[in-house]
Amino acid sequence: MEGIIGYGAYIPRNRIKVEEIAKVWGADASSYKRGLMLEEKSVPSPDQDTITMSVEAAKNALRRAGIDPVDIGAVYVGSESHPYAVKPSGTVLAEALGATPEVHTADFEFACKAGTEGMFVALSLVKAGEIKYGLAVGADTSQGAPGDALEYSAAAGAAAFIFGQKNIIARTLDTYSYMTDTPDFWRREYQYYPQHGGRFTGDPAYFSHTKGAAKGIMKKAGMKPVDFDYVIFHQPNGKFPFRVGKMLGFNEKQIEPGWLVNRLGNTYSGSSPLGLTATLDISNPGDRILIVSYGSGAGSDAFIFEVTERIDEVRDMAPKTRDLLDKDKNYLEYGEYAKFRQKIRKAN
C-alpha cells in the first residue's frame, strides 16, 4: 500500500486586497468580490519565486515525513512560473533538501494542474517499487496582466507531498485522469502574461474536465459523493469549486476545509494541493478525501485518499496551512505590489 507520508505548505505573508487593485483600474471592487467570491490574494516578496517556496513547502513535508532526504528517489516541481525558461527548478530543490545526486528530477508544466501531475508520477514510481520515496511540489507565483480579471486572483503559494509505502498518513485508494485539447488559457513563449478565453474557461473547460475526472474516479472506485468526508476542487475563484461540487452532489461542509481561495487567491499549480494540505490539517483517521485538480489546456487529475492514524502524530510537526494563511499578514498598496511583481518598466 502506498500514499502520502509527509505534506507541507508555504504561503508568502504579503497580501493585496481586491479594493486596492480595483481602485487603480477604476473597476467596481464589490462586483469583483461578489463575482469571484474573493477578498484578497497572496503576493510573493521580491526574493521569492517558485523555487524558494517549493523549498520551504518541501522542508515542511520532510518535517512531517521524518525521513532522510537522501532516500528520496524522485523530485518533481509542477509550476507555470518556473524561474528559468531553460534550467530545472527541481535541481535547486533537490540540492537544497540534500536529495542529490541519486535522484530523478523533472519540472512539470500544465497550467494549474502541474502540481498534481508531479504527485501522480511520484506516487506511481513508489507504487511500482522503483523508488523508496518520491517528492512532488505544486508551486506558483502566477501572473495576471495589469487590469485583467486574472490580476485579482493570480496568487502565490506552494504545497509539497512525499509519497512512500511505510508510515503512511493518507493511503491512496485510487487515481484517475481526464484530458482533452481545450485552448481555454495559454501563454506563448516570451510573453509575460497569459491569455484566456473569458467565459470559455467555464463550461467546456473547468466544469467539463473537473466533472469528468470526479465522476470517472468515483465510478472506478465504486464510490459516491456521500462516501467522502472532504473534497477539494481546483480554485480559480471562490465560486467554481462550490458550483462544481453542487453539480456533482457534494455539500458545502465537504468543500469548506480545503477552500482557501477567498483569502489566498488562485495559486495555480499550488491551488488544489494547498487545499489538500489544509484538509489533512483538520482530518481524522479514517476520513476519505477526494481531490480533483484542473489545468487549462485542459485536464484534471483525481486522487482518493484515506487518512490513517499517523495524521495525529505528524499534524503539529510543521505549520498548518490555515495559520500560514491567517497569521502575520502584510498588506501591500498597488505600487508596492507592482514593484514586487516587476510590473514597472525601468531603465536598463
Partner: protein
Amino acid sequence: MTTPSRYWREIPQRYRLEANKCSKCGIKFFPPRLICPECKNRELEKTKIAETGKIITYTVIRVPPHQFVDQAPYAVGIVELDDGFKLTAQIVDCDFEDLKIGQKVRIEFRKIFDEGESGILCYGYKFVLDE
C-alpha cells in the same frame, strides 16, 4: 559579477548550511574549510549549522551594492545561531521597527540576487522573524 562556477562551489553552504568540524580538535567551521587552522588537520567531518537564532546586531542598508538596488532599503543582521555560530545575512519580510537585539529569527530559503535579466539566479539563506 558572480560566475556560475563560484556560485556552484558555494551551493552546499548556501543551500544546505553545510559546515564542517575538525576530527582532532572539534572546532566547527562555517563556511567549511579544507584545513583546520588550529591543528592543520585535513580530516574534517561534514555537519550543519542551526536554522534558528537571535539577532546580536543589525543595520538598515539604504545605499546598496548594485545587485541589491531593487531590494533597498533592507536589513542586514548578525545572528547568533542556537549552536553558537554567528552568521551575517539579510533579515527580510519585516518592519524595521520590529527589529530588536535578542529577537528570535529563523532561516528561510530565498533568492539573494540575480545576474540581470539573462544571468543566473543566486539562491541562499536569509533570516525572517520567528515568533
